[in-house]
């Protein structure tokens, strides 16, 4: 059941603890902002009921509301949500956690440059071509999905941690998982033959064998007969491990044979690693070892 018509759309209570909208439903999408203005945008197919409910109790039924100056907890209710094809929340000063929805027909899901906190619940999003949650403060593991139609996957510049699972993502051209706190990578980099950007830099994958495995997979990816473009791969920075000599050999194949651009931390045990640490030889975890 949803309450989309008056008198249920506004909260009649103005004193604590009743100031949050008691008429809200689980069907609504809630977000809290602290900025001066709000200009979120959705696009829909057909004529679904759209109801924005602002923290001051006012409402809006346009897909693209303007001149909203509300600060606090707001909500969006669309009946039904399957009509939504585009969600665009760029620079909306969202400071809360959010609870995403299935958004089965969404083609683009963008929450860019806010300060969204908490965990990110992901869904199958079977029609999404662009899934973009970058430049926020998400703090959780990230459950990646098959996302068969995804072309752009932007999850960079957050605080995701733990394992990053790589899926085949046959349609993906750009993978951005950089500037997070991922500590391991699983899955194969062989199938993403449309990929032209692969950004993993600024994470904490300290296993040189995982870096080697990635490079080994990428050589197979680069050799695929269906590949038509080169790729820019970056797995440097943060506390990322460099490759071993075997990984370096595969890096050279990617660069010299296939024309890719590859950025990595220095090879494990190389002079470059020693130089950057004042002549101390380190292992893949950055700990000093005896030569």
């Amino acid at each position: 059941m949803s309450f989309t018509t008056s008198p249920f759309t506004t909260n009649p209570w103005t004193t604590e603890p009743y100031t949050s909208n008691s008429w809200g439903t689980d069907d609504a999408f809630y977000f809290t902002n602290d900025g001066a203005t709000l200009t979120p945008l959705i696009t829909v197919t057909g004529t679904p009921d759209i109801l924005w409910t602002w923290s001051d109790g006012t409402t809006d039924t346009n897909a693209n509301p303007t001149d909203v100056t509300s600060v606090g907890e707001n909500s969006l209710l669309v009946s039904d949500w399957d009509a939504v094809v585009y969600l665009y929340f760029y620079l909306q000063s969202i400071t809360s956690a959010i609870k995403t929805k299935e958004w089965k027909n969404a083609v683009r899901i963008l929450f860019h440059a806010n300060a969204i906190t908490g965990s990110l619940q992901t869904w199958d999003w079977p029609n999404a071509k662009r899934i973009q949650f970058y430049d926020n403060n998400f703090y959780s593991t990230l459950q990646t999905k098959a996302w068969e139609n995804a072309e752009l996957l932007y999850f960079h510049s957050n605080n995701f941690f733990g394992e990053l699972k790589i899926w085949p993502w046959a349609n993906a051209t750009e993978l951005y998982f950089s500037s997070n706190d991922f500590t391991s990578i699983s899955g194969s980099f062989q199938p993403q033959i449309k990929m032209t950007v692969c950004r993993l830099d600024g994470n904490d994958v300290t296993s040189s064998s995982q870096i080697d495995s990635m490079l080994s997979d990428l050589v197979i990816n680069a050799a695929d007969a269906g590949r038509v473009a080169v790729c820019n791969v970056n797995a440097s920075g943060g506390t990322m491990s460099g490759p071993t000599a075997a990984g370096t050999a595969n890096k050279d194949i990617l660069v010299d044979t296939y024309g890719w651009t590859v950025t990595l931390n220095a090879e494990v045990g190389s002079e470059a690693v020693k130089d950057s640490l004042g002549g101390i030889l380190t292992d893949s975890l950055g700990e000093a070892v005896t030569e």
């Binding site: 080169v230 970056n234 990322m240 660069v255 010299d256 651009t261 590859v262 470059a272």
Partner: protein, 98 residues
């Protein structure tokens, strides 16, 4: 800092060499007598911004960390702003990170 590393790949014919992705890269040449395709790998280090391009479009714009390896052309800039200004000046297509 950009270090140039010259390498030779054994390629049996000129046709095969021309089909190689490195053939048209800066610093590449094929010697039909020795059957060698000479390429120049760039190894870019340092904290400057690295603009990698192929003369027409931006291949990568990298905030300096780690080591970048490429056969494409490299320029280094102290700031991202300077790099973006050069991209505009050179008229490079920049679709990186859009």
């Amino acid at each position: 800092m950009i270090k140039l590393i010259s390498k030779s790949l054994n390629i049996s014919t000129g046709v095969e060499a021309q089909a190689h992705s490195a053939f048209n890269k800066e610093g590449s040449s094929y010697n039909g007598v020795t059957k060698e395709l000479t390429i120049t790998q760039k190894e870019v280090t340092g904290e400057d911004w690295r603009l990698i391009h192929d003369g027409k479009k931006v291949v990568a714009l990298i905030e300096g960390q780690g080591i970048t390896y490429t056969l494409d052309r490299c320029l280094e800039f102290k700031t991202e702003k300077e790099a973006l200004a050069e991209i505009d000046k050179m008229g490079l297509i920049n679709e990186v990170g859009k």
